[in-house]
Every structure is written in C-alpha cells, then in structure tokens.
Symmetry: C2
Subunit: 520 residues, 2 copies
C-alpha cells in the first residue's frame, strides 16, 4: 500500500555473468530439481554480491522497512486530524515542547523492560552512544528532571521509532507519530486524571470516528485484586500481562495460560476470573469497596475510592456515557502507578477491520479495531532521572494517531468527496497568447493582497489545460485575462463548478475573490 | 545555552574505593608530582570504569551533543515563524509531503560529495543499512523517482541531521529544521525560478528580520567565466569553492588561496578577480553578454540570457529592489545546474552577531549574519534515482529556519513583550471554599462551547494564586464564582490587566468572553 514498491534496474533472473555456469549445469546428466534450485540460489546470491549489470547503477528505490512517505493527500488528512487534536489540547490550556529525535542511549536504558530490544541504536561513529526515541514519555520525564520543572501541562506530537514487526495495513509502522498530553504536578486527587479522560472524549467525538468506549482501571486495584486472590507477589507482573490479553482472548484461554504456563493455582485463577468479568461505573466501585475479599486490600481500597472520586468529576465533565470501569484492563507498561485507561472504537465495520478480515483473522476481531488512545498515572518516572530522586507526579494520555490516520485515509478513499491538497482560491489564466506578463502582474497583485493564487509556468498555456488544472486541484475560481478585458480594465471571473462567468473590474477583483471564497 | 547542563550524582573527586591506594602513595618516599598526577589519572579512570558511588544511579542528564529541547516559549516562537512561512507557501499553491527520518544508506550515498562523512548512520541491528536524512532535497528526489512524479510544487518542513561541529549560539545544530519549497516539472525558462525568489522576498519581509539582499548567479556563468579566464577544466570545482569564500575573506586572501594552494596561474586569478567584483541587475547581464571575453563561452551566454529573463519576471513580481546579480556567489553543492541564489540579512546589529563578536571574531563579520535562505536549480538529481535516468527539472529554495529562530528568540529576550505559550482566554476561579464542583461545571460549559479555559487542579485554591497564574501566563480574563454569584445566576468576569470586574449573567457569559477576546 501507499506507493511503496521496489524497482531493480535489470530484473532478468539471470544476468550475463551467470550464464556460463548455468550452461554447465544443463550438460550434466542426472541432476535433481532440488540441486538446480540450490545452484540457482547460490548464483543469485553471487549476483547480489557482485552488484550485477556491469557498473550500471543498481539500487533499491524504496523507503526503509516499516516506514512510509506521506503524499499530499495523506498530508492533508494528517493536518486535518492534527488540527482537531491540537485544537482540543489548546482549549485545555496546554503548552507544547519538542525534544531531539535521539537521546543518549543510557537515558532510555531500563525504562521499557522487555521492549528495550526494539530500540533503534545509532552507529558508534565516535562520541556519545545514541538511540532513537522509543516514546515521548521518557524524553518528557528527562526534560522535567533536567530543567527541574515541577508543574506543566504540555502536549507533544512527534515521531517515535520501534524495530517492531510492521503491520502497515493496520496502521502499525516502525516510524510513527505519537501524540501525547500530560499534566505534571502535585495536585488534588483525580482532577487532572479526569481532565485527561475529558480530552480523549472530546478528541474522539471531534474526529467523528463512530462510537467509542473508554475503559478505566487502576494499577492499585489490579495489584490488590491479585493479592486477595492469592497470587504470589513475584507473579503480579506476569499474571497482569496475561489479564491484559482479555481483549483478544477468551477467559478460558487466559485462564489456561495462567494455570498451565505461569503456574498459578486453579483456585486463584478462578477468583481472578470472578473479578475481571466485572464492568460498571461508580456503583461497581462502591460495591467492591463493600466486597469482603477485595476490601481486605488497602491498596485496592485506595484505588476504588479514587475511581469513585474520578466518576464524580467525570459526571461534572459530562463524559460518563462513554466511560466504563473495567477490571480486566491492565496496560503493559511498567511505569504506571495509579489510574490507567484505554479508548477503543466499538462501531462494527470500521474500515481497518476489513483489511484484517482479508488476511484470515477471525471475524470476532471486527468488533474492535484496538486501542485508539491510552494512558495513565506514572508518579515515579521523573524521579528515576532526578539525581536526588525527587518525584514529580504525572498523568497523561497518548492518542493512537496512526490508526486514526489509517481510518481517515480509508474513509476518504471510500467517500466521493475529493480531498484538496492545496488551498488555492483562484487561478490566473488567459485564453490568448502573449499575455504572460499580464498574468504575472495580476498574480502578483493577488499574492500581495494575501490571496492564494496560481499561474501556469508556461508562456502560452492552453485555456483548456488551465481549466483542467483547476478541476483536478479543486480551485474554485479562474481569473481570465484577454485583450478585450485588458482594454476594458476588467477580469473575467469564472466559477469552475458552475462555469458561470462574470466581468469584474480590476479594482473590485480582490474583494470579489474574498467574498466568493470566504467559506472555502 | 538553552538549559543544557550536566549533573552527576556524587561529584567528589575521590570516592571511597580509591582511598586505600591513595594512602599507599603517601607512605612512599621520593614520589614526584608528575607520578602523583599519573596515578590520580589512573585512579579517576578506574573510577569512571566501575561507575562509582556504590550502585547509586549515576548518569548524565543532558540532550545529545549538538541537539536541544525546545521549551514552550521557544515553541511559541517557532510556531509563529512556521505560520508565516507556511502561509506564504500555501499562498503560492504548494502541497506538502513528508518522508521518513531515515533512508536506506545507499539512497544518500554519492549525493553530498565530501560532506558524506557527516551523515549519521544507524547501527546494523540486522536488516537494512540505514542513515538519518542529511537534507530534504535528496529524499524529495527519491520520492519523485519512486512515485514517477514529473510535476509537483511542494514544501517540506522537517528536521535533518549532520555530525558537524555545532555552534549552537549561532543557530548551528546537529539536529536542525530545514524548510524547503521546490517546483518540479518541465516549464518555460525562469518562471518557476522567479517565483522561488518572490517567495524568499515575501518570507523575509513577512518575518520582519530587517533589511536583506538576495544574491543571484548561475552555475553556467561561473563555469563559463572559469573557462574564458583560463582555469583548467579539472580545477573548476575547487576554484569555485574558493570563490564561494568571498563573503568571508578578502579578494587578496582568495587570490592567494587560488594561486598558492590550488596552483592557478596569477593571470587567470586576476581575470577572475575582474569579474567576481561585479554586481548589478539586468544591465550587468546585458553588459557581460557584450563582453568580448565572456561572450566566447556559450554556457555563460545561456546563463546571462536567463539572468536577463529572470529580471524581467522579477520586475513583474515587484522584488528587484532586493535582488542583485552577483558574480561572486558560488554555492557549494554539486547538484546545482543553473541559477543559484542566497539571501543574507544586511542590517548591522542583528542579535546573532553580538555572540560572535564576544568569541573574538573580527568586527567585519557583523555586517552579515550569513545566509538565511538559499537554493537553485538542480535538473539532474531526480535522474540519478530513476532506473532509466529520466530527468525531472527542479528548482527550489531552503529557508535557514534555525538562524531565524535564533534571531527571533534573542529579539523576544530583548523586548519587553511577553511571549504567551498558551491561548487560554479565561480562568475559572473561585474566591471561596468548596466550589470545586461548580468550577468544573462552568469550565465544562466553556470547553463545550469551544472557549479555551483553565481551572486549577485544587479543591480549594487561593484566589491570589489563581490570579497569579493568569498574570504569569497572560490569561486575559477570570470568571469568578462565589455563593452570591451562584445565587444570582451570574459570574463575576474580571479583566486581569485592568482589574475591572463586571457581573455577567450565566446565559450571556460565553458571548461576552468571545467578544472580549476576539482580537487575542
């Protein structure tokens, strides 16, 4: 997809150099197909090594694996999505920062657990050891510690890098955007946390992606639950990561993994099963606070009280219709310390799904296209960077922008509406020859007045090709110059869609163009 | 500068582990100072190896060499600059594209000549060999060839990477933005070239950077001039790169380098000297077309005719007051084939200069802060990527955005005007306790109406601290809630600057906020 393809100069299977060896094979009796295949493979490898085609340049014309170019149409969609998202972040008073694309390797070390193997390292060319950023959260924490910042509300939209197996049709790349909003600072419980959820709600509504649900849980509730169900302390993390698979696996399979692979007792597994099927709102938090077993864990009670408080604020923010307290939510990252959340699109038939179904994935998957936003509270990460270990409590959310791009691109593909890639209001054209100077003069007048205008870079372009360019790029107006118009001091203004033409005096032209394109 | 600093946990010169060894040195008679120094050096090296400080985490808290974070203030300036530049590109009908931050190593190979040693390579972690992009022009050419695009007018703003010696106070980094506008396509001579200069003119005027000059020359005029002056063919490039230094060196020094270092005859050097001192406009091009010697070169004549044509178009574009045909302009990059240009700020006392003067640079340098834009025509680059060598003529310009950022940042530093880092219109506050719910309800109303609003994340914040936050972040309005206001169905709207307060009915609040902040 997306215009990625591979060209090799001279694509014949056997080049000149290999021919004599092939002939010698033919003259040798009794050779097997397997032997031929083997020899062919060797020859092809040899060909690759010598570079082939006798000095003609030969190279692969492609982008690196797992990356893509954005063409103008994709950029137009990307900018529309960014503008909705940034609009929301700004409405909530966020500042923005930027950090370098690479960090000292040691800045990233020990922050991502097992995933560290997916970090891109730079070659050691003398000097510092560097790695490409893996997310925006660790650089943010490094930035806060380095500048001793204890309070900030910031967003950061930038590309991050993971040497993962790309699944580009589903919007999974090795180079991809992250789009993060975080609130750092010591505040009263659950107020910034609730605002993060309000932001997810506003963005997903604003992007018009169909229905969605935001699942909420708390790391402390999960840990407390594991404790009261009899999970040994050293198994919390691994059991947690199995619970995390409940959005893709049935409970039976999750239970099997817990018992058979991770050695949990059947009794403990069943007790967990009783909890992780629970979903609700403030009422569920209240019920669990009364639950004989759960209430034995102080940690769980602290989490449950915070969930209650959270829902109070979510009601005031008018977003409870989409938020559900879900005990099966268990996000992977180590650094979360409190509330965690994840948003999923729930509408069946979202574009992304069809691609997946074609690849033979089970039909059940079409219920969810996976997470389009996620985040949580991480109160310990900044302290890992501070020389004195000073903590800065943080809560944040990351919008899964690449999946959203993929959905939007496929929507645009499917719809009849044409995506404009420029904002040109008017094309300065002429029907007659030898009017280049007059066209350049007029387009200068328009540019100097702030009008978005184009002129063809030809001395004598055909009127038809000028009009065709307008049709193709969605330019709504054409200002046509001719001998007669120049004599009369007017310009013929043509509306591309209706083909209506009207003479406008040169003095009134700019106002007329503004008036006619003020909604565009 | 820019908040970059280095922290090490435990900075004592000698840690605990080294102590016994130091004592043994003290008991040894007759030791020399040099020997002590040597031993100390060994011990320090040992300390560095073992990581020191008994397991306490110890790391350097900094960004990679030659890179920087952008804080919210710098981002606000950056966004203002981008908005002017992108506005201009869009006014001229440009689309935008994006390419990955790394390319296959072979895509960059052989495109940058000597500078190739400055390319950042990624570590070979299995799979493809990758390098960070060095500019945006080569990826653009790769993009055109790969997608068989023969016509496009596009801009691309993105970071590029060079392992150069950073001079960050002068806006030179290892990670820096490039901001390119290019027109690809087979068009009539000099029309797109002239538009590129129009764009440079509009952007530098729009950014209000003080007076500037755009120097223009043509690669063919340079080559023709070298030929008629008797420079041997194989010395064109190296003599060209010496001529390129005329903006930093006197003619005498340039002449010396040509003759003494590069082995050019004194006669040839003097003939070159006669030409490279020439500056003018269309008149100069006409004079040189009549010049007995110059007119012997077909190449030079082609270049000179194009310069004449260029100036015709520049007159129609109304930009000739800043453009000068300057025979000493000789841009470095190999891939230029026709017209080349470079814009410099000419106003003395531009902020950047002072830093340079402090470092002991000669005072003459303060006349120019160096190039803030440059570009030219490169008709052969795309063909290097096309398997069949098909050419796509291109002309483009790159805006030196980092230097512009540095100037803008220093201007902002020097001026009294405060740079706002958010766009918040109103702060929802209360003077009394226990009104958190009411504040959250009101801020929700405002957010839902599209108003940019903030609320403090505290149950009972002090009015003073709420007002202080407004002062600090330049928030113009405060909506104050109290028991009385709630009873009366009003909100007290306070203008932060004037301290004026007025009661506004709840129903009219949103309109009132919009009215009062419509110019902000």
């Amino acid at each position: 997809m997306l215009g990625m393809f591979c060209v090799r100069a001279g694509s014949g299977l056997m080049g000149f150099r290999a021919a004599p060896r092939v002939r010698s094979l033919h003259s040798f009796p009794g050779i097997t197909v397997a032997q031929i295949d083997e020899e062919v493979a060797k020859l092809l490898e040899l060909k690759a090594q010598i570079g082939g085609d006798d000095g003609k340049h030969q190279f692969v014309l492609k982008t690196a694996k797992g990356t893509r170019d954005y063409n103008p149409k994709q950029m137009a969609i990307r900018e529309r999505v960014f503008s909705t998202i940034i609009g929301c972040f700004k409405r909530h008073g966020a500042e923005t920062i930027d950090t370098p694309v690479f960090e000292l390797k040691e800045t990233l070390t020990g922050k991502y657990g097992e995933e560290s193997k997916l970090i891109y390292d730079l070659k050691d060319q003398g000097g510092e050891l560097l790695s490409l950023r893996y997310d925006l959260t660790v650089p943010f924490a490094r930035y806060l510690a380095m500048n001793k910042i204890t309070n900030i509300k910031r967003y950061h939209i930038a590309k991050v890098y993971r040497r993962d197996n790309p699944a580009m049709t589903r919007g999974r790349y090795r180079e991809f955007y992250q789009c993060d909003f975080d609130i750092a600072g010591q505040y009263d419980a659950m107020i910034p946390d609730a605002e993060c959820l309000k932001i997810v709600y506003e963005i997903l509504s604003g992007l018009d992606l169909g229905d969605f649900r935001i699942k909420v849980n708390d790391r402390r509730i999960l840990d407390g639950m594991f404790a009261v169900c009899g999970v040994p302390d050293d198994k919390f993390r691994t059991i947690c990561s199995t619970v995390d698979k409940l959005d893709k696996m049935t409970w039976e399979d999750v239970r099997k993994e817990m018992v058979n692979e991770k050695g949990l007792s059947e009794e403990a597994a069943d007790q967990i099963g009783g909890y992780v099927s629970l979903q609700g709102g403030m009422d569920l938090a209240e019920r669990l606070l009364q639950d004989q077993k759960m209430s034995r864990s102080k940690q769980a009670c602290a989490g449950l009280s915070d969930i209650k408080l959270l829902f109070t604020y979510l009601q005031l923010f008018q977003v409870t219709d989409k938020v559900v307290f879900d005990l099966s939510l268990a996000r992977g990252l180590d650094y979360y310390t409190g509330i965690i959340y994840e948003a999923v699109l729930t509408q069946a038939g979202v574009a992304l799904v069809s691609t997946e179904a074609q690849n033979g994935a089970p039909a059940e998957e079409s219920v969810s296209v996976g997470s389009v936003a996620g985040g949580g509270r991480y109160d310990g990460l900044v302290g890992m960077f501070d020389p004195k270990g000073r903590k800065v409590p943080c809560v944040g959310v990351s919008i899964g922008i690449e999946r959203i791009f993929s959905i939007m691109e496929q929507k645009a593909e499917a719809s009849a509406e044409k995506v404009r890639t420029t904002e040109v209001q008017v094309m300065v054209a002429s029907a007659q020859k030898n009017l280049l100077e007059e066209r350049l003069q007029l387009v200068t007048e328009l540019w100097n007045a702030g009008i978005k205008a184009e002129v063809m870079y030809k001395k004598n372009p055909k009127l038809l090709s000028q009009l065709q360019h307008c049709e193709e790029s969605g330019i709504p107006l054409v200002a046509i110059l001719g001998e007669q118009e120049l004599k009369d001091g007017v310009v013929k203004l043509r509306v591309v869609a209706s083909r209506e033409e009207v003479d406008v005096s040169r003095a009134a032209l700019i106002e007329e163009i503004r008036r006619r394109t003020s909604e565009a």
